[in-house]
């Protein structure tokens, strides 16, 4: 028995956890223990999966013993297992943070009883989407995670959350309907929805049909990934949710959309037919997203806009469809999941300590809580791409790949990427200057919490405002972000190999359909550069 046949457990364990925590809904202590231990177990399993494919190779598991073109197949390769490990590590940290918050607040802000089952179902949906080897199972994975996210988004049912939830639910449902229409069209045109089988059969279709299917899938995934013209729902709906929920949404949900786009582009529609429009869209996503961030005064909204903006980098790497570009995109996705989530978690802490998440009301936090300042500074500089950090390495990889491509559009994207990086720095520096550096007396409307004279035993107050579990889990994520920098060498190597394997496609197709499967010749004109 090889290790990859354990892959279904990555979906089954969280669902089992959801069932258990739902049964234990009146026992919050047992609920916490079950959800944290099962998620840790899932993470361990996924680390084993990643280790089994670390040096290359692809493994497929046929669910229920049905053979591939008909049955459901789960595929483990370097990209999917890397995404699984990063996403589970991030969701575990957020889970610990959320339980810390729930305990500190006496379950007021986040009703923990329903939070745990829903959260675990969200994780199961994300894992299912990453592992899925056929389009309809990918759709089911999306629906599992979306339905869970609807509940998490409107947790507590307050006015602003319901308002944001309506936007979010309607946009998500429309994008799911588009995805389902695309699946129906693909099935009508080819008679299969298995992705490996599609890779062979789609190449036999005529160009017009292919382009139609391609655009339909890209639009559906583009809404989920928040790519520019389809991104307006995100900053409207994310900021109102509870801090841990926003953090996990920002880290994971859009990246599942990016993952689906990468699979569509590389496996189903290789070649460069839509690369030019994708590049234009990537440029617009980067620049317009970050300009939106500069206008915001609420940190959560600002971060939501940087989230949209940095999706552009990943689409840029994808649109180059070269090994270097795709590898940089894979690395960037892993980096961005970690960093964006930790920034949202830190914002949750800032809101607790400073009483607000608006930079107009925050001040003097560096003096009040140096640890908080450090926790914000490291991921913020990482996001902006300041040299030693992984954000810099990812952007450097993208820029190198862009210059390697050498077309005028690629140069425009390189310039846009550098500009976006600088503007991100400006946006986070503004938060830093106001919330952390300026004196509370200089602020026009400081929150009363900031002006309060520290109690004689100041330690007691600080612990209540910033519970140790919340700070600890945030610190863990920040350290993970730094670890991505320290171990960037091996990570980039894996990203390179997975990019080469994805562009080659033969490993994937043969793992799913058997060694005898015919691998269609790559109809690439410029993709192999």
């Amino acid at each position: 028995m090889n290790l990859a046949s354990l892959a279904p457990l990555a979906v089954v364990l969280p669902i089992l956890g959801a069932a258990l925590t739902f049964v234990l809904i009146r026992h919050s202590r047992a609920q916490r223990a079950v959800s944290i231990s099962l998620l840790s177990l899932t993470l361990l399993l996924e680390c084993l999966l990643l280790a089994s494919v670390w040096n290359g190779g692809t493994a497929a598991v046929n669910i229920g013993g049905w053979l591939p073109p008909w049955g459901i197949v789960l595929v483990v390769d370097q990209f999917s297992s890397l995404m699984l490990v990063v996403s589970s590590a991030v969701s575990l940290a957020v889970l610990v943070y959320a339980t810390g918050q729930g305990m500190a607040d006496g379950d007021q802000d986040a009703p923990v009883s329903i939070f745990h089952p829903t959260y675990l179902i969200l994780v199961a949906g994300v894992s299912n989407a990453f592992l899925s080897g056929d389009l309809f199972n990918l759709y089911v994975g999306f629906e599992i995670l979306l339905t869970a996210s609807y509940v998490l988004m409107t947790l507590g049912g307050t006015g602003p959350r319901i308002r944001a939830g309506v936007t979010y639910v309607v946009v998500s449902v429309v994008s799911s309907v588009l995805f389902l229409i695309a699946i129906a069209m693909v099935y009508g045109a080819t008679g299969t929805i298995n992705m490996a089988d599609l890779a062979i059969k789609l190449s036999e279709l005529d160009q017009g049909t292919k382009t139609l299917l391609h655009v339909m899938l890209l639009v559906a995934f583009g809404i989920k990934a928040a790519v520019f013209p389809l991104s307006f729902w995100l900053p409207d709906s994310y900021p109102t949710a509870p801090a841990p929920v926003t953090a996990v949404f920002a880290g994971l949900l859009t990246k599942v959309g990016v993952y689906a786009m990468v699979r569509t582009e590389t496996l189903l529609f290789p070649g460069d037919s839509l690369n030019t429009p994708l590049m234009v869209v990537a440029l617009l996503t980067m620049v317009i997203g970050i300009l939106g961030a500069l206008a915001q005064s609420d940190i959560k909204r600002l971060l939501s806009f940087t989230l949209v903006s940095h999706i552009g980098y990943m689409v840029f790497g994808l649109a180059m469809s070269s090994v270097a570009g795709l590898a940089a995109a894979v690395f960037y996705v892993a980096h961005h999941i970690t960093i964006q989530t930790s920034l949202f978690l830190v914002t949750g802490l800032i809101e607790r300590r400073g009483g607000s998440s608006s930079v107009d009301r925050l001040a003097g936090l560096a003096k009040l809580s140096p640890l908080l300042a450090l926790l914000f500074f490291v991921p913020a500089m990482n996001l902006a791409g300041i040299p030693p950090f992984s954000g810099f390495l990812g952007k450097l990889g993208l820029i190198q790949a862009g210059i390697g491509l050498g077309t005028p559009l690629a140069y425009a994207l390189v310039i846009g990427g550098v500009l976006t990086s600088l503007l991100t720095l400006l946006a986070v520096a503004r938060v830093w200057n106001r919330a952390f550096w300026r004196k509370a007396e200089d602020a026009e409307h400081p929150d009363p919490v900031l002006l309060a004279v520290p109690a004689p035993e100041g330690g007691a107050t600080a612990v209540r405002l910033l519970p140790r579990t919340m700070v600890g889990s945030t610190l863990g994520l920040v350290v993970l972000g730094v670890a991505l920098t320290v171990f960037a060498g091996p990570l980039f190597q894996v990203a390179d190999q997975s990019a080469a394997a994805m562009l080659d496609r033969s490993a994937y197709i043969q793992a799913v359909l058997g060694d005898g499967a015919p691998v269609p010749a790559l109809a690439l004109s410029g993709g192999g550069k």
């Binding site: 944001a164 429309v174 309907v177 699946i183 129906a184 005064s297 909204r301 409307h445």
Partner: protein
């Protein structure tokens, strides 16, 4: 592949009505629109299976082409279950909106409106910098030692020309133009 024209016409009508309804501002209509879209998509999937055939129970005597394609129907079952869950959730949301706000409309994002109406002038970043920035209070002097004139920098806000310091005052939350915007939305909502 052959397609049933009736199915296709019904599907088109459902899509048209669904898209019309989701563009409305009333939540109940949006929900009805989403349901129509989901059902239209189910018909589309059904159509990909071709004409109706025999139920797909295996028997040696039957020609494989006589069977109906079972896969689209399995897909439809899954998608019906999913749209059922989403519809139930949306109904919950609509009820909650009604309980909270006594209205069935999609609400505006107040923070979004506030950012849109904020003047580009930022009191802290863009104010006229005094020449003397020392911690020790001195009368303000220009480089030649003469007293600096009153700051007369102006900004253009919403078609009005304001002194910079006045614009800075207006930017504060709770000041005239911002509370004005809030009252507008309130009366707007109350009128419906």
């Amino acid at each position: 592949m052959t397609v049933n024209l009736t199915l296709l016409t019904v599907m088109g009508a459902l899509y048209a009505c669904g898209i019309y309804l989701i563009l409305e501002r009333s939540l109940t209509r949006v929900l009805l629109g989403l349901m129509l879209l989901a059902n239209a998509t189910n018909l589309l999937i059904l159509a990909t299976g071709g004409y109706a055939g025999l139920a797909p129970f295996f028997s040696k005597d039957t020609d494989p082409a006589a069977y109906n394609d079972p896969l689209p129907q399995a897909l439809i079952l899954t998608s019906i279950v999913i749209s059922f869950a989403v519809t139930a959730f949306m109904l919950g949301i609509i009820y909650r909106t009604w309980v909270l706000a006594r209205q069935d409309d999609i609400q505006d994002d107040i923070e979004d409106r506030r950012v849109a109406e904020t003047p580009s002038f930022d009191a802290e970043d863009d104010a006229v910098i005094p020449v003397e920035t020392s911690e020790f209070p001195l009368p303000m002097r220009g480089p030649d030692g003469s007293a600096v004139a009153e700051p007369t920098a102006t900004v253009e806000v919403g078609g009005r020309i304001l002194l910079a310091e006045h614009a800075a005052l207006e930017e504060k939350p709770g000041s005239a133009n911002i509370t004005g915007a809030d009252t507008d939305t309130d009366t707007d909502g109350g009128a419906k």
